[in-house]
Every structure is written in structure tokens, then in C-alpha cells.
């Protein structure tokens, strides 16, 4: 059942006025006035074009914006109160905007959207990021149609990206989720996705919302819960990924949200994933790996330096986490000069798995384990960038694919480490 304390009285009143819907589109926002206007217009256009007869609602879960975000969203409503000259719509399209109680966090916003989806008995729902740079009306169709026609329970996006972007996703999250949960979901951490009403109820029942991970890593968690509970997961191509202004310094928070959530989920869903042997492809609409290749300057040296200093300074921490052979290997490659340095795939896989197992046993604080992984990931990033410096899109893809195979091949290694005492 939806937890009522998530919904304020005012929000509940608005939900009462909306009534039952077939489609719900959620927008979690916090001070996004610069970008949310085109997004909500694209959603409105998408709904009118692709679902003209369905009862729909655009729902904004706002964390207390002060820049007029909520007003911008309410302007997209279609009703008989305001006369809209160019819009031809069969039905009223409510756009409700309500603040959730608490500090602004995507986890809380998502939980509000899920609760509303359950109370309004929506059949198909989608969450769209208010920071999308080129929103298209077609996104609504692509995310919702598989669910509305009852072929899928959860739809994840795929993006066109530069070959050097999203390396954490391609080097760790995608291969590891694929190897562990057995489904080839390219973007397990999605800021845009679609889900069915039934799945919303299931999400709400999970006992994660009171944990830290429920607040910071909710997007990733939804994907993992779907995979773990055997739902039908599809993926659909949306377009160019919005280039969000994020510096490499934000690596640690990003890792907390994604890698931390992934590791956390291994505890809860162990009975499910431990028996999965091979990964299966999932139903995909559109191109799976569209990469752009324009030249971009990267500061590889810095990554190398941080890797080296990390291995050097953090060895007492690593000795609590990694096995001795692995740590020795790492120290060996750290001693190599930059030109010869290489972080081989197999070592990276072992590193990742040992970290996962160590997270499970938590000899030290779990947050520290995640932070400790960051410098090692930088080393891996260095190697990946070097190897794909002049690569074409297909070559990049085959690199990623071979890394995935390596993760799958070494899964028993994870299981061994998981069960052994340390």
C-alpha cells in the first residue's frame, strides 16, 4: 500500500480531482526552470499525438523550487478554464504539481510519483528528466507503448553518446548488472524510464525507502528490483543523452548512487542472482549502441596520477577489502610508468567482484568501500580511453562486449568470494 506520509494533504486533494488515469507521466524537479519548459511541452504534444483518447496526467514532484518550475509545468495543462488557441484535445489533461514532504531528493520524488501512480491506478507510467536537452514528443510513445500494450513491465532508455561518455556505465554498471542479473540492460541507471502500474505497487512494497539507498539510488534500484523480480524489461532508443554539466569530480556521488546501490542490492536479492548463469538479451527498440565520434580532449594523465596515488595511499584500506594476490597485482601495475601502464580487463573484473563481496561482508564502513573504488576506476578509465582512442563505434562496442563476457565468465569468482569468510 502507498505510504500516506509521503503525500501531503494538498497533493492528495489534487489527486482526488484528477481521478483514475490510464497514463501518468512524472517529472521530478528541483529548480529546473531553465530546462523544464520544452520538456513539458514535448510531453503534452506526445500525449496528444499518441494517446489522444486516454486519460492522462502530468505529475510534477517538486522538492521546493523557487524559480517558477511548478508554474511552468502547470502551464501545459489542457482544460476548459483556460482557452488554448492551437491545441485540439479530446480531453482535459491535468498537470498537477505538488511538493513532497522532506528535503529535495530524487528518491523521495520517485516515491511520490510511485504512490500517485498506485492511487490513480495508472496503467502505464513514465518518468522523464526535467533536464533533458532535446526532448521529443516521441519519447512518450516509446517509453509507454510497450507497457500500455502489455508487452513489458519496465522500459529503460538507450542513448546516442560520445564514445568517451558514460564510461562508468560501460565499464562497470552495464557489464556487472548484466553478469549478475542476467539481462543485457544497457542503462541500468536511468533518469528516464517507463513502468506499469502493477510494478509501481511492487516497488512501493520494497523495504528500501527508509534506507539511505532508497533516497539516493532510487533510479538504479528500480531497475534492479525489476530485474530481480523477473519482470519483462524492454529498452528503447530515445536520442542523444542530455549533456548534464557534471565534472569528473562528481564521480564519487555518482558511484554512491549507482555502484553503491548495485552492491547493496546483491544482499537482498542473493537467492535470485546467485543462480543466474548466463545473460539474455532483452527486447530492444531502436539502435543499441549509437556512438558519436567527434574528437574530445581528455586529461588522461590526471587519471593515471590519481590511480597511482590512490593505490599508494590507500593500501591499508585495500588490505581490508581486496585479496592479497589482487592487491599485489594492483601495486605492480601502479609501479609501471604511464606509457606502459595497463589495467587489464580480468584484473578489473576481479577488483570489482572483490569489492562487491567485501561490501557484503563490510569489514569497514560500506560508504568507504565505495569511495575506495573510485581511484581504481580511474585507472581502468585510463586504459579504456587509451585502447579506444582511435577506435570506431563498432570497435568500442566490441571492447565493451568482451568486457561483459569477462564479467560473466568470472561470476563464479564473485560467488566464491561471497561465501568465503575473510
Amino acid at each position: 500500500m502507498a505510504d500516506e506520509s509521503v503525500l501531503t494533504d494538498e497533493f492528495l486533494r489534487q489527486l482526488i480531482n484528477v481521478g483514475e488515469v490510464d497514463i501518468l507521466v512524472g517529472l521530478p524537479t528541483h529548480n529546473n526552470a531553465k530546462t523544464v519548459g520544452p520538456v513539458v511541452q514535448a510531453i503534452q504534444a506526445g500525449l496528444l499525438r499518441n494517446f489522444p483518447r486516454e486519460r492522462a496526467v502530468i505529475l510534477n514532484a517538486d522538492g521546493g523550487s523557487r524559480d517558477g518550475t511548478s508554474e511552468l509545468i502547470a502551464a501545459a495543462a489542457i482544460s476548459d478554464v483556460r482557452h488554448m488557441a492551437n491545441v485540439r484535445a479530446l480531453r482535459t489533461l491535468p498537470c498537477i504539481s505538488a511538493q513532497y514532504a522532506g528535503t529535495p531528493e530524487t528518491g523521495l520524488a520517485l516515491r511520490t510519483i510511485l504512490a500517485a501512480a498506485e492511487l490513480l491506478r495508472a496503467r502505464a507510467c513514465a518518468v522523464i528528466s526535467p533536464e533533458s536537452v532535446n526532448p521529443e514528443p516521441a519519447w512518450v510513445e516509446r517509453l509507454l507503448r510497450p507497457i500500455y500494450s502489455d508487452q513489458a513491465d519496465f522500459v529503460t532508455p538507450m542513448y546516442r553518446r560520445h564514445k568517451f561518455e558514460g564510461l562508468l556505465m560501460r565499464n562497470l554498471l552495464y557489464p556487472m548488472t548484466r553478469a549478475i542479473y542476467g539481462k543485457r540492460v544497457r542503462e541500468p541507471y536511468a533518469s528516464e524510464f517507463g513502468f506499469s502500474g502493477g510494478l509501481a505497487t511492487q516497488f512501493l512494497k520494497q523495504d528500501v525507502w527508509n534506507h539511505e539507498v532508497g533516497r539516493t539510488g532510487a533510479e538504479m534500484l528500480l531497475t534492479l528490483v525489476s530485474l530481480a523480480s523477473g519482470c519483462r524489461v524492454h529498452q528503447t532508443f530515445l536520442g542523444t543523452k542530455a549533456h548534464v554539466e557534471r565534472s569528473a569530480r562528481d564521480l564519487v556521488p555518482a558511484m554512491r548512487q549507482t555502484v553503491g546501490t548495485l552492491f547493496w542490492s546483491l544482499d537482498t536479492y542473493y537467492p535470485g542472482w546467485s543462480t543466474v548463469v548466463q545473460s539474455q538479451p532483452i527486447s530492444t527498440v531502436g539502435c543499441e549502441h549509437d556512438t558519436t565520434l567527434e574528437p574530445v580532449r581528455v586529461n588522461r594523465k590526471r587519471m593515471y596520477d590519481m590511480f597511482r596515488s590512490g593505490v599508494g595511499e590507500l593500501s591499508p584500506v585495500f588490505s581490508s577489502i581486496l585479496s592479497e594476490p589482487t592487491l599485489a597485482e594492483l601495486q605492480k601495475i601502479a609501479s609501471q610508468p604511464e606509457d606502459d601502464f595497463r589495467y587489464p580487463a580480468e584484473l578489473w573484473v576481479k577488483t570489482a567482484y572483490e569489492f562487491a563481496a567485501s561490501y557484503h561482508k563490510s569489514p569497514i564502513s560500506r560508504d568507504h568501500i565505495i569511495q575506495a573504488l573510485a581511484p581504481l576506476y580511474r585507472g581502468r578509465m585510463f586504459t579504456f580511453l587509451l585502447e579506444t582512442k582511435d577506435a570506431s563505434a563498432e570497435e568500442v562496442e566490441s571492447e565493451v562486449e568482451s568486457l561483459c563476457q569477462e564479467f560473466e565468465r568470472l561470476k563464479p569468482y564473485l560467488l566464491n568470494n561471497w561465501n568465503s569468510g575473510k
Binding site: 565534472s247 555518482a254 564502513s365
Partner: protein, 234 residues
Amino acid sequence: MRDLIVNELSLAYHEFARELARLLPRLIGMVIVVIMGWLIAYVLKAIVRSIMRLARFERLSDNAGTSQLLNRAALPSSTELLSRFVFWVAFLGFILLGVNVLGIVGLQEYVARFFLFLPRLFVALFVIFFGVLAASFFSRAALLAAVNADLPSARLLSNSIRFVIIIFVVSMAFEELGIAEQTILVAFGILFGALMLGLSLAFGLGGKELAHDFLERRLAHRKKEEREDELSPL
């Protein structure tokens, strides 16, 4: 005259025997108490050990880094150590109780004082243990943050934090135990003050450029070289 000596001696002997006879039950009582005490202390030790195991104390102390410390000093594990400590404290307590039973007046006061001292001892140990835990946690947090933020001499920062916290905690423990209270207090105050003063001088004067760069990086526009590295990880 021989008879007198024999008489006195036998009187003294009788006196002694009587005293002994009077003392004997108390002595027996003391032995009983001590034996019982040993048994109880043993049971207590076993109980403490199982509680520790249930509470996964070992892991906590691993976390605190005390296991490594003990290992290096060739001492047994912390659970073992703690349970043995409990054993000996309990046993000692009972011995003293036994001595009390003996009824030797002067000793009773000392016995009382010992028992009064015990809680403070436990508190001090408690403070030290959790202090070490906190020191290890915060020093590790600082280390990781520094490494990930690419700050130089991360190890130094981490160790200094650990050092400061340990010193602080030990001072607190000593104060609790009442050992050289004022000395410790003053020494700590001087040390801490000097440390802070030194740091501010160093940072303010010597590290002027570094501070300037640091602040600039944080608050003003970033330099172009750094922007190259802005690949989004997700």
C-alpha cells in the same frame, strides 16, 4: 621459672589457637568465596565471550583497527582479551570480597575504594575503545576524500586526524580515571593550541598560494585544462 615460660607460652599458644579457631571459619569462608568467585568469573567470561560473538565485536574492532594493533603486539584477539579482562576483574573482586570476609578492618576501606574505582575504569576503557574506533573511521574517511579530491599528502592528513583524535580520547580517559588530571588537561590544551596555531600560520603564510588556488578552483570559473577532464561518468 621454666614453668612460667611454658605457662605463658601455652597461654599464648592457646590464645593463638583460639584466635586461629575464630579466624578459621572466616578463612574457610574466604576460600569458599574465592572458589565461588573463580567459578562465577569463569561463567561471566564465557557469557561475555558469547555476547561479544553475537554482537560481532570482532568486526567492530577490526573496523577500529585494534585487531591489527593487537596482532602486531602478539596479543590475543580483542574478544579474548576483553573476556579475560572481565574474568580477572570479577575474580579480583571476589578475592577482595573474600578478604573482606576475613574482617580485617583496614583492608575493608581499600576494598570499598577498589569497587568505587571499577565503574570509572570501565568508562575509561569504553571511551578509549570508541575513541579508537572513531579515530580510525574519520582518518579513513579523510584519506578517501583526500585521495578522491586529488589533494596532496593525503596520508599525512589522515594520520594527523587519527593522531589528534587518539590524543583527545586518551586525555579524556585519563581524566576519567583521575590520573594526573590537571597535567593531562594542560598538556593537551597546550598541544592542541600549538597545533592549531601552527596550522593556521603554515596555511596562512606558507600556503597562501595554495589557499588562493584552492579557493579559486572552488568558487570561480574553472581553468580550461581542468575542463578537459569533464567526462560524465554515467
